[in-house]
């Protein structure tokens, strides 16, 4: 196994394109666990953190945010501007692992690991985030929703890797929230995760919404029915109940060591209601 530290995107792409056994290393909090367990045996590890811009969080001219693929999640929580605009996205990112894991793990690693339960992914999907993908044919921008295709599988082609995440401009009266259910208070993988992103009219009516569920399907689910239940309402109890029911209906979980089908469906609804309420309160700013 080789260890590579490309200094540019082009070098990284060249390394990845030349060796189909090469793996990208971001924070390593998934990769190294699997390496040690003997689940993977890459021919090379390509550490992308030396590439310019990988560790940066920058506000774009349009007011949106670009977050480098090497930014550890802890750094997101320390960024006041990002936290103010996207508390839900930051919440999801900061729920990953422990303080120590936070010092290393990245949102992009979480996304490209393509686990069904990745905590940072639902809020990105609910917010309509995009990723920038670099590859042998240049760069392309892809909705986060389209990256994972199945557990452990992504839509990235050979030689491609993600360089950054883009969050659209927050604008006035927007808010988001992410809640997950775990058996303990920390150090567990989500049994259910739910993110809600809302943007309000001036009068407090929901103009548009995104509701995304994690850990209840092979990949993150964007639940249009749950979002529709909120749109045009002021997130009153009836709207929240409808949102919860839509989330429960949309979930197609499995029974495993972390939870049962019935439990995950029930809790999908509970979290959707609670996250919607929280996102709404945040959007109203009171």
């Amino acid at each position: 196994m080789k260890f590579e530290t490309p200094q540019t995107v082009e070098q990284a792409v060249a390394l990845l394109a030349a060796d189909s056994g090469a793996r990208v290393l971001a924070g390593g909090t998934d990769l190294l666990v699997r390496l040690r367990a003997g689940h993977i045996a890459p021919s090379a590890i390509v550490d992308i953190k030396h590439i310019d811009g990988m560790g940066e969080i920058t506000q774009q001219a349009d007011g949106g945010w670009r977050i480098g693929a090497g930014v550890p999640c802890a750094a997101m929580g320390e960024h006041a501007g990002l936290v103010a605009d996207y508390p839900g996205v930051v919440e999801g990112a900061e729920l990953i692992g422990s303080t120590q894991v936070q010092g290393r793990c990245t949102m992009v690693g979480n996304l490209c690991n393509a686990g069904p339960a990745g905590d940072s992914v639902p809020a990105l999907v609910a917010a309509g985030a995009m990723v920038r993908v670099a590859g042998p044919n240049g760069t392309r921008d892809v909705p986060v929703l389209h990256i994972p295709t199945a557990p452990g599988k992504t839509s990235l082609a050979k030689g491609e890797f993600v360089t950054s995440v883009y969050l659209p401009p927050r604008g006035a009266r927007g808010g988001d929230a992410y809640l997950r259910f775990i058996p303990r208070t920390e150090m567990d993988i989500a049994v259910v995760g739910c993110a809600v992103n809302v943007i309000l009219e001036e009068d407090g009516t929901v103009a548009c919404a995104g509701v995304a569920l994690g850990a209840v399907a092979p990949t993150v689910l964007l639940v249009a029915e749950a979002a529709e239940a909120l749109i045009g309402t002021k997130c009153d109890d009836a709207a929240l109940a409808a949102c919860a029911a839509a989330a429960t209906a949309a979930a197609t979980p499995i029974d495993d060591k972390r939870g049962t089908v019935a439990f995950r469906k029930d809790v999908s609804g509970v979290l959707a209601r609670r996250a919607a309420k929280l996102a709404y309160v945040r959007a109203k700013g009171d």
């Binding site: 260890f3 924070g27 190294l32 040690r36 367990a37 422990s98 120590q100 150090m187």
Partner: protein, 159 residues
Amino acid sequence: MSRIHVSTTINGDDVDYLCEAGDTLLDVLRDQLDLTGSKEGCASGDCGACTVRLDGRLVCACLVLGAEAEGRSVETIEGMAEGEELHPLQRNFINKAALQCGICTPGILVAAKDLLERNPDPTEEEVRYWLAGNLCRCTGYDKIIRTVLETAAEMRGAA
């Protein structure tokens, strides 16, 4: 297998070593440099016994490759005391019985020191969440949390 040459700084000293690409920083610390104060409880990021600081951020040494330390700065439990002078956390962990078997202690001390440097006045809840990635099976955490809080108060008083 050809090995990678790494030049790094550990507890303020320049250190060079050779490692395999798959060796973790924890492997290097323990097996090559005989810095066995960092412990391996899981090798998967779950227990925190291997906690060190890398360029000022807490990490699990088992989730960092040895090769990644090139040009960076690593702080381990072995560097926590200044000569004979124990860090107040170390002193209080002994005096307030915040350890039983002691296997979790190095990781917890490194993590707690980092917390107090960032936040000299944490609440009980903040300490508990900060240390949630440091498993201790002996103490039930009570005396650990109390000792961190009391040391924080003592250090604020001294400052």
